[in-house]
């Protein structure tokens, strides 16, 4: 385990297990996993201000862990604590409270096609009923941070894949989350755009936000030299500071 006595524990996964049973199956892909253990007792601590990669082959359980964290799915067993408070004990009707503390960036961007770049970012503030003056101040700042202020009036269909992902990052940062979780953020964009995304995520960490990123992109992981947590068969098999993809 990494030596992080100086840092504060921000996110704790304790013995997270996820077994897909028939009643859990929500689509045909899930049905293929009937009775399969996707996560098997994952225990993991993420520290404040760090950048950590969660790596593993497709189907290793990386995205499932992210979904459980944001309560899109429920674990079969285990606990999750965000800054000391249980995430899983929060009633379903209050789950939005958790999601406001965790900024999430998805592989498929999840932008609103009928809204402009500005409006897509503003929605993260609108849902917490932020006043319009505050929205008008914060949104340009985060768009500037991701280098898209000049495209604030564009619609998603007018953007490249990399630009869409930058908008998604801006939206995730708009309400100043405690932690940013990026689930395969470079999975659907070209390598050059992917590099730009990683530059932005490094800037995010420098601003003090913790970043947890799932990926199976070896080049990115090897280049960045950050903490690398490797999952295989639903278990953590290695956890190294300044690690490489195959360490």
């Amino acid at each position: 385990m990494p030596k992080t006595e100086q840092k504060t524990k921000q996110l704790e996964f304790k013995n997270i297990t996820k077994v897909y049973m028939p009643e859990d199956a929500s689509d045909e892909l899930d049905m293929a996993f009937q009775g399969i253990t996707v996560l098997d007792g994952i225990s993991l601590d993420i520290y404040q201000g760090e950048f950590a990669f969660l790596v593993g082959e497709s189907g290793a359980g990386k995205s499932t862990l992210v979904k459980i964290l944001i309560r899109e799915e429920e674990p079969t067993d285990g606990e999750i604590y965000l800054e000391g408070e249980s995430v899983l004990d929060i009633p379903k009707e209050m789950v939005h409270v958790v999601r406001r503390k965790i900024g999430v960036v998805f592989q498929d961007f999840k932008l609103l096609d009928s809204r402009t770049v500005f409006e897509n970012v503003a929605i993260a503030l609108a849902v917490v009923k932020a006043p319009q003056e505050e929205i008008n101040e914060i949104v340009p700042n985060v768009l500037n941070m991701v280098g898209l202020l000049d495209k604030k009036d564009n619609y998603p269909y007018q953007l490249s894949g990399g630009e869409k992902q930058r908008v998604a990052i801006a939206r995730a940062l708009a309400h100043e989350p405690d932690i940013l979780v990026a689930d395969e953020p470079t999975g659907m964009i070209d390598p050059k755009a992917g590099e730009r995304i990683m530059e932005i995520l490094e800037d995010v960490v420098e601003y003090g936000t913790t970043v947890l990123m799932t990926t199976h992109d070896q080049d990115i992981v090897n280049r960045m030299k950050k903490r690398v947590i490797r999952i295989h068969g639903g278990k953590i098999i290695s956890d190294k500071q300044e690690g490489g993809y195959n360490d």
Binding site: V95, R99, R100, V104, K110, L112, V127
Partner: protein, 294 residues
């Protein structure tokens, strides 16, 4: 929070879909309103016909007016009886003359002495007519008793059928209206499904996600019920101008209370508006519930 302005803006963005949905729901509410009117009219007609049915007791010539009036008072005190009217020989002649005014020879041949005095007895319940007739027939001074038994029993059967059919069909149309709202909103939600999912993922509360859907449902149902109400009222105004039911409509289950056609349709309009609000709220709540289950 309910926001009709946003609902209207959303409706403007999807004009074709919104127009067709509004049309379907307006027609549904209008049919509901017309059907309520038809049910009321049939019940009102029955109430009127019930008032016209009566037992008529004819008296012998040697039975004095004083004794007839005594019997009238006795019958009036009977709880089953709503009204007893005394028709003297002279009044009977007047009625006969009026009815047969086109037959002067016939009128000339009749005098008040020939026509009997009578009591016209109306009961509160149509089923009591026969019983009252049988009780009066053997009374002293009564020469004969008349009431249209077949007509009475047919009215009774028709009344029962219309009461039951009215309730059932009103319930059916309410269900159709509810279904129209649910289908309308499901179409809307299906189009907005991804957007709702994204809103939830970025931290929108259930109320935030629900509010525009409920606003949409309420806006559609309220707007269509308002349109239906306006059409009903227009119909009532035109009918009134044409002199239809110019003396008003008899209100069933009351003792002769009458209501103006426009006022009646106004009441139905209020019922439609209340139904619109209730159906819009319930319909949108039930359809949006699916998207609040994580």
């Amino acid at each position: 929070m309910i926001n009709f302005k946003n609902a209207y803006e959303t409706m403007k963005k999807e004009r074709v879909l919104s127009f067709s949905n509004l049309l379907v729901m307006t027609i549904t509410f209008l049919v509901l309103g017309v059907f309520l009117l038809v049910v009321f009219l049939s019940q009102s007609t029955l109430a009127y016909l019930e008032q016209q049915t009566q037992v008529t007791a004819f008296f012998r010539d040697d039975f004095t007016e004083e004794r007839i009036l005594q019997l009238q008072a006795e019958l009036q005190a009977d709880e089953r009886i709503s009204n007893v009217e005394y028709i003297s020989k002279e009044e009977a002649l007047q009625i006969f003359t009026e009815i047969n005014k086109d037959e002067p020879l016939l009128v000339e041949s009749i005098s008040a002495n020939i026509l009997p005095a009578s009591l016209k007895i109306q009961t509160r319940k149509i089923e009591d007519l026969k019983i009252i007739a049988e009780e009066i027939a053997p009374r002293e001074g009564v020469e004969g008793v008349k009431f249209f038994e077949d007509v009475v029993s047919q009215f009774q059967k028709l009344a029962n059928v219309l009461y039951i059919a009215g309730f059932i069909l009103t319930a059916v149309f309410l269900f159709i209206s509810y279904s129209a709202i649910v289908i309308t909103l499901r179409t809307y939600i299906n189009r907005k499904g991804t957007e709702l999912e994204i809103l939830k993922l970025v931290g929108a509360s259930n109320d935030y996600v629900q509010a525009p859907i409920i606003s949409q449902g309420l806006f559609f149902s309220l707007t269509s019920s308002i349109f239906a109400t306006v059409l009903l009222l227009l119909g009532a105004v035109v009918a009134t101008l044409l002199g239809v039911f110019d003396s008003g409509l008899l209100v069933p289950f009351t003792t002769g209370f009458r209501i103006n056609l426009i006022a009646l349709n106004l009441i139905f309009g209020i019922i439609l508006l209340a139904s619109g609000i209730l159906l819009g709220y319930l319909g949108s709540k039930s359809t949006v519930k699916k998207y609040l289950n994580y």
